[in-house]
Every structure is written in C-alpha cells, then in structure tokens.
C-alpha cells in the first residue's frame, strides 16, 4: 500500500502523480488530490471512501465476499478489504465519523452459479454490511446489471466516475 501524502517529494522534482492505479485486490489512499482509478470491474466491487475534512480519499478493488480465513491479501475480500481501507484512511489522517462511501461494480454478468445469489450481489451485500458496521453512510452506488465498469475517484470532490463499454458515463 502506498500513501501519497507528498512526503516523498523532497528527493526529486517530479510532479506528484495525478492518477494512481488500483489493481485487483489492492487499495490506495491519497491526500494530495490525485485521481484513483481501477478498471475492469465485473463481479468485483470498487469501494470509494472520502473524508472531505481531512482531504483524504481511498479506493479498494475487492473480488470475493468474505475472507473466512482464506489466504490472500486483505483487499481481495469485501469484508477485510473495506476494513483495511478504513484503517489506511485513518492512518492518513481521516476520521471514520466524517467518511462517506460510494460503491460500483458487482455485476451479475457471466455468473454461472446454478442457484443462490451471484458473486456480484454477495459482494455488494458484504460491502454494505461492513460499511454499516463502521457507521459509514453510503452516498451513492452503481451496482448490479450485466456490464463491466471502470472507475475514477476524483479525490478532491469525492466524485466517482463510472465508465462502461456501451453506455454513458455515470457520475455519482
């Protein structure tokens, strides 16, 4: 995990990153206004947290509903991933009482599950439950459906911009 707090700028004259990519099962937090992006969400979910007071924003890209003792990075699972992101936000100076959340993804596309809920919907349910347990309100969501999504979190405003292959851009 990298925190872009500007502290590493002393060594070089390079501009701060304007866009930070978040891979699958990864999270990033920024306090310097960078845009956080993640791409190719199918049944995966991108959870964005924003604390306007601390000027901090974070994005996690989770793949499966719950860790249940499985191996892998915390950010791979909805429950531990949201938890890890909240902690990282706090480490960057944010406060959970002033955080708001937005989520996107959790599509039902290509789910061959014979019965029961799809992975996409189980991911969404788990994300919401975990956010609820932290008392972090959900300000916007774009979940479900049968299409993929790519996200850009504009960390200054907290706007989450959702792009899909065959439809209009959605800003929540």
């Amino acid at each position: 995990m990298k925190v872009y707090d500007g502290s590493q700028s002393g060594q070089t004259t390079q501009a701060k990153p304007e866009r930070v990519k978040v891979g699958i099962a990864e999270y990033e937090v920024t306090t310097d206004g960078a845009a956080l992006t993640t791409s190719g969400l199918g049944s995966c979910i991108g959870v964005a947290l924003h604390d306007p007071q601390a000027n901090a924003a974070g994005l996690v890209h989770v793949m499966l509903p719950n860790a249940e003792g499985k191996e892998g990075s915390r950010a791979k699972f909805a429950d531990t991933g949201v938890e890890a992101l909240v902690e990282a936000m706090e480490a960057a100076g944010a406060n959970r009482s002033s955080m708001v959340a937005k989520l996107a993804g959790g599509s039902d596309m290509l789910d061959f599950s014979a019965n029961g809920a799809t992975i996409g919907s189980r991911n969404a349910t788990q994300v919401k439950e975990t956010l609820e347990s932290f008392s972090i309100p959900i300000e916007g969501e774009d979940v479900g459906g049968d299409h993929g999504r790519s996200l850009r979190l504009e960390s200054v405003t907290g706007d989450l911009v959702i792009k899909s292959a065959n439809r209009e851009e959605n800003r929540i």
């Binding site: 060594q11 990153p17 190719g40 199918g42 992975i119 292959a165 065959n166």
Partner: protein
C-alpha cells in the same frame, strides 16, 4: 519430476518480489513511479517464447546467471520509453548516452531481481555483466535453454507498468530445466498435489490441438484459411487472472464446461475482428454501422463451433467427456469479462492455470483469442487419470494420442 501447486505458487511469488525489487530500484533512481502489473509462470513451446512482443522495438539488458539456478534473463524497455527513462535518470542526457543509461539502470534493476531469488533460496546465484541489447519483437529474447527431452520452456514473465504513462516494460527469465526442476522438487510441500511436469507439457500440446481444431472449424465455416498461432499454459495468483486480457472492448462467447476438468472457456475477438469475421460469414452486407446484431449472432455461432472444436480436442486426449453450456454472448471490456469467471474459480483456489491460445488469418484482418480457466484440482485429476489410463502413450507423444 513433479511440480506441486504450492511450489508453483512460491516461485510465482518469488518472481513477483524480484520484479518489485527491480521496480523499487528504478523508482529510487529516477523518481518514476512504477508498479508490477502481472507476474506469471508460463510453460510455452520453445519457438513461441516472446510472441507477444511482435511488432514493437525494445532496448534493454541481458544477463546470464549461474548457481542455484542457471539460465538467461532480460529486462526490456519499450523503445519509446528509453528516452523518458534516461531523461529521468539524467535530465538533458544526449541521445547517444541512452545506451549507457539503459545499461546502468538495467544493471541495477536486474541485480535486485536476481538477489531477491538468491535470498529466498538461501543460495548463491552469480550473474554475468549486463550486455546491452536492442531489436524488434521476440528477437530480443534469448534462446530458451535447449533440452532434447522437452519441447517446452518455463518462462517467468513480469510486466511492469509505469504509473501515468502508457508504457510497459518486461522481465523475462528463462531458467535451465534441470536446476529449476530440482529446486521446485526441493520446495514441493506435498507430493499428493504434484503434477508430473511432462503431463503439463502434454496438456499444453492438447491445447495446441484444441486450438487447431477450433481454427479448422473457423475455416470450414468461413472458407478463410485460419492458423492457430500461440498456445501456452500459465500459472498466476487468481487476482492476476483478469489482467491477462487488455482493457479494450471485446466481443465473444463464454461457456462453462463440465466434466473433468470443469471450468470456463472464452472465445474473444476485438471489435474490428468481430465485424470482419462476421461479414465473412454473412450472405449479404449488414445494414448499419459498426457492430450490429447480425454481426453478434454470427459471432455467437462462430464462438459455439470454436468452443466445440477446442473442447473436443481435450476430451479426445483425456478420453473423458467434456460438456459445455450454450454460449453466452459478451460485448464488454476484456478485463470485466474475465473478472467474474476468475471470481467463481477463486472461491475454491488461490492460484489458477490459464490456458491461452490465439489464431489469425492472413486473408482478412482477424484475430481471436481463446482463454480457458480450468478448476485446478480437476485439472490435476485429469492429468493423473491420463497417466493411469494411457500410461503407454503419455511419454509426451501427443501425435500418437491423437491417432485414434
């Protein structure tokens, strides 16, 4: 020799950490912020190593290494990014200095990479001084080690993305077979999980046969001569699976197959290829612009027969029956097509084997990729059964297996 899943996982992690160390050196020297995008172990036919580099120019460094592991490794920068990297290293550097810039940075990165391996293995790995290389496509990749016994080579490949720039660079490592096999055996935790290495080779060739059969079906249906091009079997952490496909929009079909092994199979076309191949299938010109519904239904039909061809190729060799669901048509971002399939497989496993193949034709601009994501345990079972049932024929003589 057998490889077990855990040792493949360990070696994958090792390659990933080596690539991280190399990337950290780059960031420290230049201030360029880069991240390791994909690391995978691929078992590939010797002559196909580096096919994915075709059509681009590269500059980089090459090392030989010896000790606990022996072989060759290269670090490659996209030709276009050489200037940016050397400029970051030494602003205003003359173009003629680019070579020494690449050499210096390559040297430092690759020392990090190889030291990472040696530390983990608690062994010594020496490497030769870096040699500067430049060239087009796969010509920059060293010859895979020759081994009369095996047609395939293990390739450790990392793609590193440079944040904020659309530039990738690559590390390829091509170890000699025997020392690698020995190390893998030493690190094998559980022989029950092990897959005999030559069976993986057979499986790779089955994939080649499957792809050829799929290509034949395309040819039969469209009348356009179609060649199967690349086929390989890779091993990667489940979260890296969707990254095997680009972010571009693809059109194609997905099926779930059942039997031993079960899993998912995708047939994907880039949008232009989809239009071109669909036109070839249609009796009259399609009205309308771009990809129409008629194109899509032609693709659905084509995806269906390609899937059947591919799956039949497997079932033939395994002497099992592999069934598949009717194809689901997809038209979406490549990664988001792969993502739900990886998630479904990922409910039961940490790592996945990914089978990739490509086909193309010279007659029209057309390219297609087939990706299969089998259940790991069942794949192991299928390979095990192959040994039991057809022990006399599995000494990598796939030709013979197919003579039914």
């Amino acid at each position: 020799m057998k490889v077990d899943i855990e040792s493949l996982g360990t070696f994958n992690k090792l390659a990933h950490e080596g690539a991280e160390a190399a990337t950290a050196s780059l960031t420290q020297m230049t201030g360029i912020d880069a991240t390791v995008d994909v690391t995978k172990i691929t078992l590939v036919n010797r002559e196909e190593v580096g096919e994915e580099l075709e059509g681009r120019n590269f500059a980089g460094v090459q090392f030989g290494f010896a000790g606990a592991l022996e072989g060759e490794t290269v670090l490659l920068f996209d030709a276009e990014s050489v200037g940016t990297i050397t400029d970051a290293l030494m602003p205003g550097m003359d173009e003629s200095m680019a070579e020494s810039g690449v050499k210096e940075i390559g040297n430092i990165m690759m020392s990090g990479f190889i030291d990472g391996w040696a530390d983990y293995l608690e062994a010594t790995i020496d490497h030769s001084p870096p040699a500067y290389i430049e060239g087009a496509g796969s010509s920059v990749i060293p010859e895979p080690p020759t081994d009369a016994e095996y047609d395939q080579a293990f390739v450790f490949k990392s793609e590193i993305e440079w944040v904020g720039e659309s530039v990738n660079f690559y590390i390829y490592m091509l170890p000699e077979y025997d020392p690698l096999a020995g190390l893998m055996a030493d690190h094998a935790a559980n022989q029950d999980d092990a897959i005999p290495i030559d069976k993986l080779g057979v499986f790779n060739q089955m994939t080649t046969q499957g792809t050829e059969k799929a290509a034949d079906n395309v040819e039969m249906m469209t009348g356009i001569p179609t060649e199967s091009e690349v086929s390989r079997i890779s091993f990667a952490p489940i979260e890296d699976v969707p990254k095997q496909i680009g972010d571009d929009t693809y059109v194609g079909t997905v099926v779930e197959f059942t039997g031993v092994p079960s899993g998912f199979l995708m047939v994907l076309f880039d949008e232009q290829s989809a239009v071109n191949v669909a036109e070839a299938l249609m009796p009259t010109e399609s009205p309308g612009e771009g990809l129409t519904d008629q194109h899509k239904s032609a693709i659905e039909e084509l995806g269906n027969i390609m899937t059947s061809g591919f799956v039949d190729g497997w079932a033939n060799v395994l002497q099992t029956s592999v069934e598949h669901t009717p194809p689901k048509l997809v038209h979406d971002m490549g990664r988001s097509i792969m993502d739900p399939l990886a998630a479904q497989v990922g409910q039961h496993q940490e790592h996945a084997f990914i089978i990739d193949s490509e086909m193309k034709t010279d007659e029209i601009d057309f390219r297609s990729e087939i990706h299969a994501l089998p259940n790991e345990q069942e794949l192991r079972q299928a390979l095990e059964d192959l040994r039991v049932d057809r022990a006399d024929e599995t000494d990598a003589d796939v030709e013979k297996i197919f003579e039914q």
